[in-house]
């Protein structure tokens, strides 16, 4: 499978999805006006990945900002990862937040309560 590699922009995150290493990374900002367009290829990629998933998939989510339009799309990404996990190929989601950013921690906890995949909350200390 071809990896996905997007450079970040002021309104969209850096994305690296790699089927050979089983590492799935979204970092930076996700605040586009229309998120569906941006996230569609990511969701499609994960649908295909499910068929050839690595024995362990490590997901790294390190967002500085995301808007509510992205929040639904991020949930769609997590739902695809949940399907990988359910198919007996374990997935672990590492959710990064800056030490004073309670809102970002809470956002991670919201997803953790919806998605049946183990989460690790990782505090970034300056």
């Amino acid at each position: 499978m071809e990896p996905i590699s997007f450079e970040g922009t002021p309104k969209t995150p850096t994305v690296n999805f790699n089927a050979d290493t089983g590492i799935v990374e979204i970092k930076g900002r996700s605040i586009p006006e229309n998120s569906i367009e941006f996230y569609k290829p990511l969701v499609d990629w994960l649908e295909e990945y499910k068929e050839n998933a690595q024995p362990m998939t490590k997901v790294i989510i390190q967002l500085e900002y995301f808007n509510t339009s992205s929040s639904k799309c991020i949930l769609d990404v997590f739902k695809k990862l949940e399907a990988v996990h359910k198919a007996k190929n374990p997935v672990e989601i590492h959710w990064y937040y800056e030490e004073d950013d309670e809102d970002m921690l809470e956002a991670g906890e919201d997803y953790e309560s919806i998605i049946r995949v183990p989460f690790k909350m990782v505090e970034i200390v300056d």
């Binding site: 309104k11 639904k72 950013d101 809470e106």
Partner: protein
């Protein structure tokens, strides 16, 4: 008496204004506002927690203006551009205040008012549940919003949403929204 836009706008612009705009809310405009306000916030000695909240609320406020503007007929264009909206950010003693304004069809008031009143009636814990419920169970609109924006703003600020519907003419009202971010 009908709504006097200039009076409303002048009043909003009293005090310590960080940013003020009236006109078409386009993607370019949103990008420019976000860049400019981010630099201003970085230059201020505000704690990063508050800066992030202001920025987050600003993103949602602007995108609400962008997605949910009811278009004015051509006969209004002389005074109000296409996609007309207002944004004013002020620094008060104990908070930042983000005010937005846009035209709304009279028949759309009831639903919006109902939504805001409901949000304002919810506790912190209930807002969290409301947010998760909309996130998980409701389809997104074509525009992508899905009704999460106002809930998110209320949750992040912990304050009630202030609002007014000003009668403009028989078809339109002007909707003004005031959001406070306590520091």
């Amino acid at each position: 008496m009908s709504f006097n836009f200039q009076e409303y706008f002048d009043e909003l612009n009293g005090g310590d204004v960080l940013f003020s705009f009236k006109g078409s809310i386009t993607t370019d405009l949103i990008n420019n506002v976000l860049d400019s306000v981010e630099v201003k916030l970085q230059d201020s000695d505000e704690q990063s927690k508050i800066r992030k909240k202001v920025y987050n609320v600003l993103v949602e406020g602007l995108q609400n203006l962008y997605h949910h503007n009811d278009d004015l007929p051509n006969s209004y264009r002389e005074k109000f551009e296409d996609g007309f909206g207002v944004l004013v950010i002020k620094k008060l003693d104990d908070c930042y205040k983000i005010s937005t304004g846009n035209f709304i069809f009279t028949e759309n008031i009831k639903e919006l008012k109902g939504r805001i009143d409901r949000i304002n009636s919810l506790s912190k814990e209930e807002l969290k549940e409301e947010y998760k419920d909309i996130l998980n169970n409701q389809k997104m609109s074509e525009k992508g919003g899905g009704g999460l924006g106002l809930v998110d703003i209320a949750r992040k600020t912990g304050n009630k949403l202030g609002y007014m519907f000003h009668n403009f003419d028989e078809k339109y009202y002007f909707f003004s929204l005031d959001i406070s971010i306590s520091n």
